[in-house]
Amino acid sequence: MNVLLSNLVLALIWAALTDTMNAGGLVIGFLIGYLVLVLVFRQHPDVRQYRLRVPRMFSFVVFFTKELILANLKVAYDVLTPIHLMKPGVIAMPLRAESDLEITMLANAISLTPGSLSLDVSSDRKVLYVHIMYLHNKEDVLNELKRMETKILRVMR
């Protein structure tokens, strides 16, 4: 996290120095700062982790956007077709995510992705209850959800 902070500070300084205190300036500052950090502090363990995290984050955003659009198309399809093809159900998904933030992020992501809506986490944090639109096969659905969990954890950890 400290590294992210440093990167942000670098972005700010860049924007201030170039007198481009706006979105564009900040983005450029961030990218330049990232490069500086990754190239200069290569040995630092935190930075090493951070080096990967940024691309992962970007790839997650792309993935997530894709999923979101797909989700919507699916919903659109179901909403617009006259017959309900749904097979809704609530399933319990065992959690690998541990920290509050991880769980919350996962739950939110699940809610925004196709056919799933997280309802609640069990009080012992072991299980996330998810409402599924097309519950044809529980295993498939669970695998799909776990794939998402993995992606998120990679960004978060």
Binding site: V75, K87, V90, N108, S111, L112, P114, V127
Partner: protein
């Protein structure tokens, strides 16, 4: 010109998903299925329209604001959905009759609102 046309496409898309969301909320059979529609399509609809805004204005300040709107909706919408869904589940809002499975059923503690991870756990605690 091109950006304007792109913006037009984005806002049409956004509006379309808004319509989808509202149709969902209008047509879907039970609370949870309606929430699927609103959570996803609402966020996407607003997001796409905001993309349209970004493209139309092409201004860093506006972009920042539009991004903020997108971020805020993306962040708040699922949280709200969670809160409502949980509350609805808790007060016993009926599920659609064609719901195939409900693993959550009976795992809430009526008194303390503790949610158990399995039926066993609940029974253990009830006994203890």
């Amino acid at each position: 010109m091109i950006t304007d046309t792109l913006a037009a496409l984005f806002i049409i898309g956004g509006s379309f998903f808004m319509l989808v969301a509202s149709l969902g909320v209008f047509r879907m059979p039970d609370l949870l299925t309606r929430m699927h529609a609103t959570t996803k399509s609402g966020v996407l609809g607003a997001g796409l329209i905001m993309c349209g805004v970004m493209l139309f204005f092409i201004d860093s300040g506006v972009t920042l604001k539009a991004l903020a709107v997108m971020a805020f909706t993306t962040l708040t919408s699922p949280i709200a959905a969670h809160a409502i869904g949980r509350a609805g589940y808790f007060i016993g809002v009926p599920l659609w009759e064609k719901t195939v499975k409900d693993e959550l059923h009976g795992r809430y503690d009526e008194e303390t609102h503790v949610l158990h991870s399995s039926d066993d756990q609940k029974e253990n605690e009830d006994r203890g």
